[in-house]
Amino acid sequence: MTPEAIESPASGPANPQGGETGRGKTSILVLDDEPIVGKRLKPFFQKAGYEVEAFNLPLEALARIEARRFDVVITDLKMEGLDGLSFLGKVKALHPDTDVILITGFATMETARQSFRKGVFDCVAKPFKLAELLDGVRRIEKERGLVP
């Protein structure tokens, strides 16, 4: 999948929908090996005012993470090739101030505990509501001072 997010400088009054920050739009990377997840999340967050790139392949996402920093990473926990926890580890190592939301199939207490130790901001169990995820991202923006 080719990321085609469009960057644009912030201008004008704050977007009532959110996503707008003083230094540009909040950026999100979505990684899930089920393509439907990226296909749904990308337009949803774009419409809500975010800059979004979505990936199905962990290695591609990893390459992207190495190339640039995202404000928020939303990743599936269980994937072929590289699991969400290792991906999370790499993200945190490269960009300690990137916040991660973990999407889990069946959230077991143990993985949840493990992931929180590794600095996960929030866990969302599949299937989840779009609004639930948006809330998570907004909380991150608030805590990081990304929104006024």
């Binding site: 749904r40 419409k47 199939g105 599949k126 989840f128």
Partner: protein
């Protein structure tokens, strides 16, 4: 030491000892719990289609698996309770389970094996069998209700069977892999070889006969000519392949099969193979269905782009039209009239350019087509009238809203004058604005927000239009085209408006109700349960509804609507969405309705919901009969309950439902069953009637109606008797009053999560119109009290669960009132206005009653 099994043998010799009643009651409670869990799971699965949720393939597999497991256990529980094997029920289960697994495996269980699918049955749910292009046409015909060509599809199944018969499936796959690995080296030769193989392979046995049969059904003995059109997987969808595959026009019946082969072979034409390589479609298996449809003998034909591909005209659609058949227009070889129309209703004509049309393509009676010259006097005439243009524009915009993409619509008008849609495919040029100012986050910037974060999305999507407020019971026939419907309650009555309305917003309603289901079918953005939309939004106000983000903006936000049309993927066309919708057909409809009907039998269970319903009913019946026959519970045997109202109510107390001190002559004051107590209070609140204009004393009225059924109701062996099975928290009530039949199943007072009320209401002797009016009334009242409501004919089902016990008991009180209030109403509901009046009256009275209660 005891010999293993010795006890059993002795027991068998002595005859089976009865299972203790407490064990059976536990089993019964287990069934109730499992039954509820199953309904909840089914409801959850339905919710996922609403657009609020993100779910994936795994979710579908897991929930089907979990549900299958629960249903199997439910039947096993019943077998234990009833001490029966329930073979027929297990067989029904296996049948449904098998069909679900086949759906999940992508193996469509078609009832027909002849590989023919009539257009009249085709929708996108069958896109795997009918290919994309024909499935879209099927949606246009069968869901949106526009005229399209008749005809049939030779399915993808036929293609695969032919391929397998000639042992070509593997060679095809290998050729595709070679091409991908070698980056297209030798593409021309591979293409030639593959096409040759397709042209020479034997077709499935019986296909010729099936085609003959289908042709005869369409045309009788008449000499009709056909269009044979490709409809491949992926064609006209995310990828396009537009114009690469073959279409043959004017094909006589006898030539259909050879034409079919040629169209199939084009699946591997060089252009299509190259397209596959360049668009990374190597992993997708090529497959094709082929549409066969009678040629429309058109007087005028043409095309329409819902977005004009012109720099200066951003907000226009463009129509090209010429005399005769449409092929020269599509090919760009004919002189055509060109009209520009505004995209917004009423689609005003911006410009028209009338060409001198010297030739036209017509059908050749012997087969094929020929070009002839247009009579002098018609050459300079416009092909389309203003009315025809307006109809075309409305049709195209409705299609665009449904498919959520800018479209290229091919159409024709036969001598009779009715517009026929020949095909609609995504326009490969996307709206210009998306590329240039594609920043969608800016789209809603600064727009005043009228509603935000309230309500539930029953169908996602974005659309703009003027508000049209619809009052309860209002005549819907003059609903303005292109408006957004705003109403207090959701109602299945709005179904017929959906093709012309752009969106729906209600104050009250559920995302799983009947209306929501239809809205999803027609893809109308729908927001329910907003609480206050009818008060916030004004008649005629231009708004933009974003049902994905639960926001209503003031004004028409063109850019936001446009974004909807430039998405790469349409959710409703995804594998996940289509598959969930298909398996739900085997899961959630309830087709077993009336337990007194002979059809209420295991063999007739068509869905998991049916099975759950059947088991639940049998379990309740069994408990009733056990309570009458089980030797252990003589003391809690059926008791006639003395009530203020002559209800003829028999009570079976399983556990703490009546005061232990009460004897055979138990009365209302002895009721300890919380749900029954609350319901009786509602029934007894007969103050509701004292101001009623009908001068009938409540008691005598009720007894006169009950008396009609008195003898029957008193007979304990009959279904339909007035029977309450109760414990302290549980009530299962079958109440027949007059001609109305009410079932209440409630469990209240355990943990909040177990609290549940299910209410069902049906029957009546008046005409169907009045009965359905009463059903709408009951539904509206239930929705007012936050029930999830479903209406089927004159049957209303309302469910509510997981609220704290106190408010749930209030709802039981309300149900008592409702049962009493609606009983006498049938005859009086002679108009929609009467319905509205009674709705208001009931709500007023219950408000007053509740105030005095508090």
């Amino acid at each position: 030491m005891e010999l293993p099994g010795l006890k059993d043998i002795i027991a068998r010799l002595r005859g089976k000892p009865p299972v203790p009643f407490s064990v059976l009651y536990k089993k019964f409670k287990g069934i109730l719990e499992r039954h509820n869990a199953i309904l909840e799971l089914i409801g959850d699965m339905g919710d996922k289609l609403g657009g609020d949720y993100v779910f994936d393939r795994q979710y579908i597999f897991d929930s089907c698996e979990r549900l299958g497991d629960q249903v199997f256990k439910l039947i096993s529980d019943l077998s234990l309770l009833c001490q029966r094997k329930n073979v027929a029920l297990f067989t029904a289960f296996e049948r449904i389970q098998f069909a679900i697994r086949e759906e999940l495996a992508g193996r469509r269980v078609l009832s027909r094996t002849d590989h023919i699918l009539p257009m009249a049955e085709l929708t996108h749910d069958l896109a795997d069998a009918g290919g994309n292009k024909m499935a879209s046409l099927g949606d246009i015909k069968n869901i949106l209700g526009f005229a399209t060509s008749e005809g049939f599809v030779i399915t993808v199944g036929a293609y695969f069977e032919a391929l397998a018969g000639a042992e070509l499936r593997k060679p095809v796959a290998e050729a595709m892999r070679r091409l991908c690995e070698n980056n297209g080296a030798g593409l021309a030769e591979e293409s030639r070889a593959l096409q040759q193989a397709i042209l020479e392979m034997p077709l499935p046995k019986g296909l010729g006969r099936a085609v003959d049969h289908a042709v005869r059904r369409l045309a009788g003995e008449k000499n009709v000519l056909f269009a044979v059109r490709s409809s491949a997987w992926d064609e006209d969808s995310e990828s396009s392949f537009a114009g690469m595959y073959e279409t043959e026009l004017g094909v006589p019946a006898a030539e259909i099969l050879p034409a079919y082969r040629r169209v199939l072979a084009s699946l591997f034409c060089e252009e299509a193979l190259r397209y596959r390589l360049h668009h990374e479609l190597c992993a997708e298996e090529p497959a094709m269905a082929v549409g066969v449809m009678p040629m429309v003998d058109a007087v005028v034909s043409g095309g329409l782009y819902t977005y004009a591909p012109l720099q200066e005209e951003d907000q226009a659609m463009v129509v090209s039209a010429a005399w005769g058949l449409g092929k020269p227009i599509v090919d760009g070889t004919a002189e055509t009239d060109t009209y520009l129309l505004r995209r917004e209703p009423p689609h005003e004509l911006l410009s028209s350019d009338i060409a001198a049309k010297t030739t036209r393509l017509v059908l050749h009676p012997g087969g094929g087509t020929r070009t002839e010259s247009v009579p002098e006097e018609e050459r300079g005439e416009p092909c389309l009238s203003a009315a025809q243009l307006a109809l075309l524009a409305k049709t195209a915009m409705t299609l665009e809203h449904f498919f959520k993409r800018p479209l290229d619509v091919e159409w024709a008008i036969p001598p009779g004058g009715e517009l026929v849609v020949l095909q609609a495919r995504p326009l490969s040029i996307r709206p210009r604005a998306s590329a240039a100012r594609g920043d969608v986050s800016e789209a809603a910037k600064g727009a005043p927000v009228l509603l935000s974060g309230r309500g539930v999305s029953a169908m996602g999507g974005v659309s703009a239009g003027p508000v049209h407020l619809v009052a309860e019971g209002e005549d819907l026939s003059d609903f303005p085209y292109g408006a957004i419907l705003v109403a207090r309650h959701s109602s299945p009555r709005y179904a017929k408006l959906m093709p012309k309305c752009r969106g729906i917003i209600t104050d009250v309603g559920s995302a799983t109700g009947h209306m929501a289901t239809i809205a999803r079918e027609l893809r109308v953005p729908t927001l329910v349960q907003t609480g206050s939309a009818t008060r916030t939004l004004r008649e005629g106000q231009e708004i933009t509804l974003d049902a994905d983000h639960l926001v209503v903006y003031e004004g028409a936000l063109e850019a936001l609507c446009r974004f909807e049309l430039v998405r790469e993927d349409v959710f409703e066309e995804s594998w996940e969405y289509r598959t969930l919708k298909r398996v739900l057909r085997l899961i959630s409809p309830l087709t077993l309705l009336d337990p007194k009907n002979d059809a209420f039998a295991p063999e007739n269970c068509k869905t998991f919901h049916d099975i759950a319903r059947f088991v639940h009913q049998r379990a309740v019946d069994k408990l009733g009969s056990l309570a009458e026959t089980h030797r252990e519970i003589r003391q809690s045997a059926p008791r006639q309950l003395a009530t203020k109202l002559p209800l003829g109510l028999t009570v079976i107390d399983i556990e703490g439902g009546l005061d232990p001190a009460a004897g055979v002559d138990a009365g209302e004051r002895d009721i300890r069953c919380r749900p029954l107590k609350a319901l009786m209070e509602g029934l007894n609140a007969s103050g509701m009637w004292e101001t009623s204009p009908v001068a009938v004393d409540m008691g005598s009225f009720m007894s006169s109606v009950t008396r009609t059924f008195g003898a029957e109701a008193a007979h304990p062996s009959r279904m339909g008797r007035n029977l309450a099975v109760i414990s302290r928290e549980y009530l299962n009530l079958h109440l027949r009053l007059g001609y109305h039949f009410t079932v209440v199943d409630a469990f209240l007072g355990g943990s909040m999560n177990d609290n549940a009320i299910a209410f069902r209401f049906m029957g009546g002797v008046t005409d169907l119109a009045r009965r359905s009016r009463r059903a709408s009334l009951v539904a509206a009242i239930l929705e007012q009290f936050d029930f999830l409501v479903e209406v089927k004919g004159d049957m209303v089902t309302g469910r509510i669960k997981k609220h704290p016990t106190r408010p749930m008991l209030d709802k039981m009180f309300m149900l008592g009132c409702l049962i009493g209030y609606t009983r006498q109403l049938d005859a009086k509901l002679d108009s929609e206005r009467a319905l509205q009046r009674h709705l208001e009256e009931f709500l007023q009275r219950i408000t007053a009653l509740r105030e005095t209660r508090e």
